[in-house]
């Protein structure tokens, strides 16, 4: 058992193997435990608390492939103090990690159904492990589609994954950006518009949505317009976190603690809270 699983409040030291730049403000860290042994197993949608000693911590989703043995992977967008410090860590550097925490995407429960993944911006990071899992078990699902929106073409993440996924005949991948210069030949417009053009069986479809809250609200509207049931729509919510195990109340969201009741919620669990100014 890894140390962090033994005591969920104690970060375990991890060594950075690679710090790869994805875009001007997003990077991916590959890490492995300093003490020999495997990284803990995780489910798609779960997150870790990443520590920079002396600076603080941040909740970051695991963005790697849970079906393969590979270093623990996190894709991080520079926001403030901690993420800026994480960006500076060089290969060989050490950081602290606690986790994995949280309720994952219902990937197993979605077997036998069509699955739509709707991602906005950095929201593709928590959805990527779900996509890897769906593809590793492709024959267990109906149609699979990814709708991914970003700010500009320069902000698109995981270009080689996108290219590979686009080349498959058993997967629909639609990408749209909010604005683009003239040399971009892809789609421009809000990501919700892509949903209307997808083909799926609304009575047998599960939708996994991750992105800024307002984008998720508009996506839900569009999914419901397309007759997907509230109980089949799942959202990954974000709030500032501290303990990540339901002790401190930092991440409270109405009656829920996002760290332990989420971050993935069924839409009807959070429906009344979405869009409220202060919850």
């Amino acid at each position: 058992m890894s140390e962090s699983l033994a005591n969920p409040l104690l970060p375990a030291p991890y060594r950075v193997l690679r710090n790869q730049r994805n875009t001007h403000d997003v990077f991916t860290l590959d890490v492995e435990p300093v003490k020999k042994g495997n990284s803990p197993l995780f489910s798609p949608g779960q997150f870790n608390m990443l520590y920079i000693f002396g600076k603080g911590d941040a909740a970051i989703s695991i963005s790697g492939d849970p079906t393969k043995e590979q270093p623990l992977r996190h894709t991080i967008r520079r926001a403030g103090v901690v993420t800026q410090a994480l960006e500076q860590v060089k290969p060989g550097g050490v950081l602290g990690i606690r986790g994995p925490f949280g309720v994952p995407w219902p990937v197993k429960e979605a077997e036998g159904q069509d699955v739509l993944l709707v991602a906005g911006g950095i929201g593709l990071a928590p959805l990527r492990p779900a996509m890897y899992t769906l593809l590793a078990n492709r024959d267990k699902y109906g149609r699979i589609a990814l709708f991914y929106g970003a700010r500009t073409p320069e902000d698109l993440l995981y270009l080689s994954d996108l290219e590979q996924w686009r080349g498959r005949f058993d997967l629909q991948v639609c990408v749209s950006v909010d604005t683009a210069k003239r040399n971009w030949m892809g789609d421009v417009g809000v990501v919700t518009k892509l949903i209307a053009k997808a083909s799926f069986d609304p009575s047998n479809t599960v939708a996994l949505v991750c992105g800024p809250e307002i984008m998720m609200r508009f996506s839900v509207q569009e999914l419901k317009k397309n007759e997907i049931k509230s109980g089949n729509i799942f959202l990954s919510m974000e709030r500032n976190m501290k303990c990540a195990v339901g002790f401190c109340g930092h991440c409270q969201y109405g009656p829920h603690f996002i760290c332990k009741d989420g971050p993935v919620f069924r839409y009807d669990q959070v429906q009344s809270l979405l869009g409220k100014r202060e919850v």
Binding site: D25, R77, R78, A79, G120, G121, I122, G149, A150, R151, D155, S176, D178, T179, A180, K181, R182, W184, M185, G186, D187, V188, G189, V190, K193, K197, G211, P212, I214, M215, F218
Partner: protein
Amino acid sequence: MELLEKILVQHPFLKDLEQKYVQLMVGCASNVRFDSGTFIYREGDEANYFYILRAGKVALEIHDGGRETITIETLGEGDVLGWAWLVPPYRRHADAQALELTRAIALDGKCLRDKCRDDHNLGYELMMRIVPLITHQLQATQLQLMDVYGVKK
């Protein structure tokens, strides 16, 4: 004419429109195609037509004098291009450029406005289809202005 009617009936924009109205619209419709790179219209042009897109891709672009041109939306099969024909002063708000070979049914705005004036029910039906397009574009613009994918300050 029969072919035009068939295409119009099948297009999502005219879903469930009574046949007599589709037939009225056929009187204002023509088949058009634009090669890749063609400007279908430019900002400020008179909005004489709107287009029911059948295939291809069109970019709506805006520019600010010398600065670079920005694409604000792309449209394709199943979409409708241009609503300015219905709203005075009937002028285009952006450039529309075909990004690839694009096929469409062009509807003569002036001809349609006359028909709507003669038959308010047709006007109502068209309004009920055009207003959601305008609302959609307004919402999309709001989201784009909010820069939802930017880091919260």
